[in-house]
């Protein structure tokens, strides 16, 4: 499924975390080793210049995917490949983090924070050039050049996220991994940051891997959306298709949770339950305990990802045509 112009292809990647008790406790209390499969056999590829989003509940492994792609975590299996970079260098990946409180070092001035990638990677020869570049970056993200002398606590949450974006841009990346960049901001500021990111994408030709739990944010940004549940991708579809005709029951459940401004008190048939513990995932399709369409096959056999129209879905019910038509469209 690697497209020829893909900037990033993730191929059957898994990540296990060792969450066993310390060695001595295991020996004395006879506890077994424990592993969490945070990401399980995930594959996707991102065409250059597009925005690929991953959505899912907290704990589904979407942030782990982000850290795998940036290399902060090493994979337990599978392969992550980057396409050819422009200007004869490998693709540079940078990341925008979720929490603007902890993603900026509180003891550094904004200018030094933004200049760090330039200094570490030696992208400019002199200190004067570095300073000019930092001032450019500040202007690009909509801050003032003399903000560089301020400390992070002197900025608002939205401004800090702009600094975070400026730092990510400082190393001239082609692929930006955004791990819930707006979930710590209030709604009006969210829109500003998202519009800034769209503008930057157009102007600098960036590719985004966008992680979020907020479907309305994702809809604003994405070309393709992947829905993750318990470490697996359950549905992957072009953004509009996913919103108008979600196929996987879990996608339908997620879309059902979006508040509707025209029908604020509409009846919602919310399926009960929480995602099961990833330490001990249910057999078969991991979603079957919460799924309205589940039958005995679902509890025994894990479904594979198959193409259905423009979407890729992993669901026995969809495969067998047992699908209840989506009750609502969110067009």
């Amino acid at each position: 499924m690697t497209a020829p112009d893909a900037i990033l292809s993730v191929d059957h990647v898994s990540k296990e975390f060792d969450v066993s008790a310390p060695w001595l406790n295991r020996v004395i209390e006879r506890k077994p080793r424990l592993f969490v499969k945070a990401v399980n056999d995930v594959s996707f590829s991102i065409p250059r210049g597009s925005c690929f989003s991953i959505v899912g509940e907290s704990g589904c492994g979407k942030s782990t995917v982000a850290r795998l792609v940036t290399g902060l975590y090493s994979t337990s299996g599978g392969e992550i490949r980057f396409g050819p970079g422009t200007a004869g260098r490998p693709v540079r990946v940078q990341m925008i983090f979720q929490d603007p409180q902890s993603s900026l070092n509180p003891r550094w001035r904004a200018g030094d924070i933004i200049a760090e990638p330039i200094r570490e990677m030696k992208l400019r020869k002199t200190e004067d050039e570095t300073r000019d570049r930092v001032e450019d970056l500040l202007r690009i993200v909509g801050l003032a050049a003399d903000d560089s002398a301020k400390f992070p606590h002197e900025f608002s949450g939205g401004q800090r996220q702009r600094i975070s974006i400026a730092r990510a841009l400082a190393s001239e990346p082609e692929l930006l991994v955004c791990d819930e960049p707006t979930s710590a901001l209030d709604v009006s500021v969210q829109a500003q940051i998202l519009n800034l990111m769209r503008r930057l994408q157009k102007e600098l030709g960036l590719t985004y891997l966008f992680i979020s739990h907020d479907l309305s944010v994702v809809r604003h940004m994405s070309d393709t959306i992947a829905v993750m549940y318990l470490g697996r991708i359950v549905e992957m579809a072009p953004a509009e298709d996913l919103f108008t005709a979600p196929q996987h029951p879990y996608s339908q459940l997620l879309l059902g949770t979006i508040p509707d401004i025209h029908a604020p008190n509409r009846d919602r048939d919310l399926q009960a339950g929480e995602p099961p513990s990833p330490l001990n995932p249910p057999p078969g399709c991991t979603f079957h305990p919460r799924c309205p369409l589940a039958d005995t096959r679902c509890s025994r056999e894990a479904p594979a990802l198959r193409e259905h129209g423009r979407a890729t879905v992993s669901c026995h019910a969809v495969e067998e045509g047992r699908t209840a038509a989506p009750e609502r469209s969110h067009a």
């Binding site: 983090f97 902890s102 509180p106 570490e120 990677m121 003399d146």
Partner: protein, 316 residues
Amino acid sequence: MTDIPAHDLARKPKTRLRLFLDSDVWWSFRHSKSAMGAAIVLGLVILAALLAPVLSPQNPYDLAALELWNAELPPVWMEGGQMPYILGTDVQGRDILSGILYGTRISIFIGIASVIVSLLIGVMAGLLAGFYGGWVDNVLMRIGDVLLSIPIILVAILVSSVAQAMLPPELREAGIAIVLVLAIALYSWVQYARVVRAQTMVERRKEYVQASRLVGTPARRLMLKHILPNTLTPVFVAATLNFGLAILIEATLSFLGVGMPPNQPSLGTLIRVGNQYLFSGSWWIVLFPSIQLCILVVAVNMLGDWLRDALNPKLR
């Protein structure tokens, strides 16, 4: 006419000094009478100790200046007291005030030096243990646990008596202060290491450290430029309180006879020597050095307590 728009003035970048003067800590200092008082007392004590050669009426190290017929003179306000021996003299005719000034100097030197040495060891061990975790963490912290399980007086007596036996006689007097510093530091680095380790484990998971990793910052720079500055606040508090503790440990060791020798006495040595003459009626030989030691340690501890409160927003 200087026509600077108001917003330009407001946007002027703040210097580190300006930031400090605007900070909560400085505000809390100016509003805490006990902290100000302790700082003034401590400042005077340190100043007097530094100026000892100028202030003291006699050089207590200069044996030629001692005259035996001035021995055991009481303080000036008592019958038989005479100038310039304001606080009286000891059995060798040494001026008590001069002894105290010089002794404070030695006590403060040993306190500061042992804090610096233990800070260096402790901060480094804590950073490495917290940053790398795993066996590095285990080895360093278990060494610390073992050291803390031995009473410090025993450690210090052991170290200083072994060192005294090993050092050649001509180095013994010069080396004893260094040996004391090392003995105290050997014990107290563990506390800094624990504080720094805990804070490092919190900081290294924060997103600014990950962002810095992404641009290829080497581990050494991650630790020193990113993590270390964010772990120092509790270290300052511990260092201040330990400074007082180090002075006390040194005084204890000197009192027990394994510290500074009588010919370069610290406050503890003065107290030990004076203690022998307490029952012969010369109470001033032991009392005044003890008072000085009390003032010094109480002032340091009050500053440390205030600093701990000022830097901990939960206590305000």
